[in-house]
Symmetry: C2
Subunit: 160 residues, 2 copies
DNA sequence: CTGTATCCTTAAAGATACTG
DNA sequence: CAGTATCTTTAAGGATACAG
């Protein structure tokens, strides 16, 4: 996390996503929650993270609405909310990239929890199902001046 | 980035992915590279990042094989390699999550660069095309003892 | 323009002791 | 067991001056 710059000002959904769940521990905690871990001690053991840091991240994730406390306050379980569960495509895509490009040994395999089948590679397609290999961006209706200016600049600079 | 812990030891493809490209600036640089930015100064202007930090990240991304220098060494362009381009599904999935859960105003829209069509939501499916809403994990052939033990522990703890 | 070299500040992470 | 409270360390990030 940069010392000064507040990335959430960057008017970019990626930056905002990273602001909410973008540090290492946070994503790994979410991964563990997908694995079924829910106890403070389970996360701690799994990640080897310091108590205070873990407490801080769990609180932040709860505040963000990615995790929710369940059960007794004295010994809560942390469970993924819908918002949290919907991070799955991003996590799976990241893992698959890591599998392919950063692994020598075989990593754990991903399986569907319902059917136990192996997962396909995550793909990006158009709404009509056509595979996409490159994307570009267009400012949305709510884009701020800075964003609009960025795209105009880009268009002009396309010359070279 | 945690001060001490080396996440790459965690024998998890997500951790390794994050170790390679997991800090805020790095992912945003990659995003900008997808947008077509390639010059030192372009990244700098786009992100408002300090010179030394940017130089460091570009070097790291180049060392990781995510970016590649092209053109003259005096004034290189930084372009995505195949490894870099294959981060697209993860980036798009993260952006879509950010769009849905972290945006009030409308963010830029993602379009296919070939057809200009809008993108579909990234989905996770089994190899036979069945939609997946939850995943579990199975240790791969190359899993280390620690990983295997983790999964055995998990299985035993499934009781509660 | 694209860096490198320094210096400085801050904050994130770890360790540890303690509490309900 | 699940935290909180301190304290310390480290390193990441920013600013700036300078170089090729």
């Amino acid at each position: 996390m940069p010392g000064k710059t507040d990335l959430s000002t960057l008017n970019c959904s990626l930056a905002r996503a990273l602001a909410a769940a973008g540090d290492w521990w946070t994503l790994l905690i979410v991964r563990d929650a997908f694995l079924g871990l829910s106890r403070f001690g389970e996360f701690r053991e799994s990640l080897g993270i310091a108590r205070n840091i873990l407490a801080d991240r769990l609180a932040a994730l709860t505040a963000e609405g990615i995790l929710r406390q369940e059960g007794t306050p004295r010994r809560p379980r942390y469970r993924l909310t819908r918002k949290g569960r919907e991070m799955m495509p991003a996590l799976v895509a990241l893992m698959q990239w890591g599998d392919k490009w950063q692994s020598e040994g075989r990593p754990p395999m991903l399986l569907s929890d319902e059917s136990g089948e192996a997962l396909a590679k995550v793909r990006v397609t158009t709404r009509r199902g056509k595979e996409v290999s490159a994307v570009r961006f267009r400012p949305g209706p709510g884009a701020n001046p800075r964003t609009k200016e960025f795209f105009e600049r880009r268009a002009r600079n396309a010359e070279r």
